[in-house]
């Protein structure tokens, strides 16, 4: 089992009186670059600190034109981490492939980070969230086709001797020959995050990549999705390995359950009620009709539409409590989902630096070792 520290780099300073969406139309006058200096540097420090605490890796991701996550270019942060860390994996989950034209750019930048970091990159590839298609003017009805074609181009660019000709529907290149090439062979591991779209899970299963379940859904949605993913792997003729599945979840640890909730809850609601609105935007053609219907029916199991702390706890939208409580709830979830990668979101919303650090420390010292021991025992029993 591997533990990753995930950072979204949220904007924590939305004014009290602002209650609009955090995406697409959230006025960028609300972004204050003067305060941004401290925000960015603090978040980068937290990512670096994760290595010191013994996390196996750190995760960053790509979002545009929003207050939810201020990382339009996760590769910039990834390249800083390549230099500021020594050991941990750097998971960029991921680049929204259709937004890069030509996507050869992704092959180049990922290869750079892989080489600079000495082969520590995990290459995440995503279709990109629905809002990105508004913010970047890209046709959402082409999203899937572009994603698959860009993926093919990138993997070929990493594995085929160049120069070669690539003649796709969207990308036509007569000289594919990127320098540098990645250090890891045949190429860095590929992780694909998804919110439950069936085509994505089938694609990941076919390619034997790793599937990361995007959070903020009720546990039954995760259970359904990972069950579908395992079935998709069975159909491809193999059993899904735990390291092929990742579970991303907001987690907060404190001395006891009461303190944890008291310290965490307001910051979590800022995240759920101020930063999520707009993230659910699903432009036409962005998913196939069969997935769209499935996603619409999962809508009421999405954190944005949850109103009470009891619902948060019951649905495991976040795991919050003493080390004992967190270990107990996590082992329960890990058993039921079958995942081998834990993507711990230990900072959300307005959670300040001091509480974030203590959360990271308690998680690393009180939770991680116990989960690893539990996992080892489980494996020994199975063997």
């Amino acid at each position: 089992m591997e533990f990753y520290f995930f950072h979204l780099m949220p904007w924590p300073h939305l004014p009290e009186q602002y209650h609009g969406p955090a995406w697409i139309r959230c006025p960028n006058e609300l972004y204050d670059p003067e305060r941004g200096v401290a925000v960015y540097n603090r978040y980068i420090d937290e990512l670096v600190y994760a290595e010191e605490l013994g996390f196996d890796g750190v995760c960053v991701n790509e979002h545009h034109a929003n207050a939810y996550g201020n990382m339009p270019s996760p590769n910039l942060i990834g390249s800083i981490l390549a230099r500021q860390t020594r050991r941990c994996k750097i998971a960029i989950v991921g680049n929204a492939l259709p937004l890069y034209n030509p996507p050869i750019r992704v092959a180049e930048e990922f290869a750079m980070i892989d080489v600079i970091s000495g082969g520590r990159l995990i290459a995440g590839m995503v279709v990109g969230g629905g809002p990105e298609y508004y913010s970047n003017g890209l046709n959402p009805a082409q999203a899937r086709e572009r994603f698959y074609e860009a993926h093919d181009l990138i993997v070929q660019a990493w594995t085929r001797p160049g120069p070669f000709v690539f003649n796709g529907k969207y990308y036509k290149l007569r000289y594919v020959n990127p320098w540098p090439r990645p250090l890891q062979k045949p190429h860095p591991p590929i992780w694909i995050p998804g919110a439950g779209s069936l085509e994505t899970m089938e694609f990941v299963a076919r390619r034997q990549y790793a599937y990361m379940g995007i959070p903020y859904f009720h546990r039954r949605v995760f259970e359904r999705n990972f069950a579908f993913f395992r079935e998709a792997c069975e159909k491809e003729g193999y059993r899904a390995r735990p390291e092929q599945m990742g579970w991303l979840c907001p987690i907060y640890v404190a001395e006891n359950d009461e303190t944890a909730r008291r310290e965490y809850e307001p910051h979590f609601w800022y995240f759920a009620k101020r930063l999520l609105p707009g993230i659910e935007t699903s432009p036409p053609g962005y998913t196939t009709a069969r997935s769209a219907v499935k996603l619409i029916t999962a809508r009421n199991d999405f954190l944005l539409f949850v109103d009470t702390w009891e619902q948060v706890v019951e649905g495991r939208y976040a795991i919050v409590g003493s080390p004992d409580t967190v270990v107990e709830q996590m082992t329960d979830m890990i058993s039921s989902l079958g995942v081998g990668n834990i993507l711990a979101l230990l900072q959300v919303g307005t959670l300040p630096a001091d509480l974030t650090r203590r959360n990271m420390e308690l998680f690393a010292r009180e939770v991680m070792p116990r989960l690893k021991a539990w996992e080892a025992e489980r494996r020994a029993q199975a063997a």
Binding site: G130, Y133, Y134, G137, L138, N139, P140, A141, Q142, T281, S282, P283, P284, G285, A289, A292, V293, I296, T297, R299, N300
Partner: protein
Amino acid sequence: MTEKIMVCGETVELRRKGSGAPLLYLHGGIGDTDWLPVFDDWASRFSVVQALHPGFGGSTGGEKLDGVEDLVFHYLDLLAHLGWDQGALTIVGASFGGWIAAEIAARYPKLVSHLMLVGAAGLWIDDSPPAELFGREPRELAALLFHKLDHPVAAMMAAVTDVASLPEDLILQQFKAMEALARVAWNPYFHDPKLERLLPRVRAKTAIVWGAEDRFFPPVYAQRYASAIPSAQLCLVEGAGHLVLLERPEEVTRQLIKLTT
């Protein structure tokens, strides 16, 4: 009245009524894909065909669309199939369908004798960009497209508070239609940057009919069409928003008779 025909390997769902000179109705994205009562009035003078665009209703091929030109050729094929490609054709196009109608009349001027554009998409004016249609809740669409929310269709749309509660086949059909629409109209947004300079080619006798309260394509677009098409007559319809055929059908009929007699 509803039939399905095969045109170049794709199914086209169309409704046909009346006898007389041929009239093709090209519908918009929302609100006028069913047979409208006003078409019955037209059927006493015309042979009216309302065809559904690829991806809408029972018409297939929406996933193959890549731009408005694909629709122009699609309708050329349909007109040939109907034997309506000999000239002396009236096309009425509303909203998205108005854009297609304008493209056909500009590119193939001999094909169309009379052209009526109702709240037509197709152009872009920097100072008055068209409103956002995609990703809107039904109640927001009602507010955008109707002048008055007491129209039965507007009231029905406004009453939908939870899209997930609608019947699954209706959701699927709506998704398919919006996807086809997005394939053509997402970017450039509901327009063809080349269309405006092609419009002087239009030879059809033309009426530009527009809701005075249109919030999707404000009336400044009507003026732009009217000044670019040589023979165009402009008619602003009071008490109507974008969906003039739903809010003031009798006025559209009056303008149609005036145009064609």
